[in-house]
Symmetry: C2
Subunit: 103 residues, 2 copies
C-alpha cells in the first residue's frame, strides 16, 4: 500500500478553507479517483509541540492506493480538474510525496 501525502505548510498571510477542502474538494477527488483510492485521511493542524507554538502544517492529507502505478493511472486523467480546484480553497503550494505505508 502506498500513500500520496499532500502537505500544506502553515504560512502566515495565506488562506486555507478547511470546510471547502473537506466538503467539496476531497469528495470531488474521491469521485474522480474511483475505487483505485482505497482510503482518505485528512487532518487539520491545531498546535505545535510546545505551548503556544503554531502547527507547522495547516493540513495534511493522505490518499491510499495499492501502488504508485495505480495512483498514476487513476490521477492522470483528472489531474487538470483536481489541480484546478486548489485555488478555490488555498493559495498555499502543497508539498506532495509518495510514501510506503509501513504501519
Amino acid at each position: 500500500m502506498i500513500s500520496v501525502s499532500v502537505i500544506y505548510p502553515n504560512e502566515s498571510g495565506k488562506k486555507f478553507d478547511i470546510d471547502y477542502y473537506c466538503n467539496k474538494h476531497i469528495p470531488m477527488v474521491q469521485q474522480k479517483l474511483g475505487s483505485a483510492c482505497k482510503r482518505v485521511a485528512v487532518e487539520q493542524g491545531l498546535a505545535g509541540a510546545t505551548p503556544g507554538a503554531p502547527a507547522a502544517f495547516i493540513a495534511i492529507c493522505h490518499l491510499y492506493f495499492d501502488s504508485p502505478e495505480a495512483y498514476q493511472t487513476a490521477f492522470s486523467p483528472h489531474a487538470e480538474a483536481i489541480m484546478g480546484d486548489i485555488p478555490n480553497y488555498t493559495d498555499i503550494q502543497p508539498m506532495i510525496q509518495i510514501s510506503e505505508v509501513k504501519i
Copy 2:
C-alpha cells in the same frame, strides 16, 4: 479524535533506521502510551511528486488519541524514555504537531 504527527524531514547526510523505528521504537511507544493511543500510522517517504524528486519527508508518523489532554496524560510520564530512544534510529529533529482528524 486528534493526531499527534511526528514528521521527519529528509535531510541529506542524516540517518533514519526505518526497521528500528517500526520494529522497536513504535512498539515501545505503543506499550508506554497504552490504550489512550487508539491507532498508529507510519509511512516512509519514497519519492516526490515529480520524476526523480526526493521525498520531502523520510518518515511521517501519526498517533491517534481522543483529545490533546488524553495525549498529554499518556505521554508525559514516558516522555524521557520515548525521547531518549530517538538517537537509536535517527539524528533528524522531527517536526511535531497536534492536529484534528477531519476525515
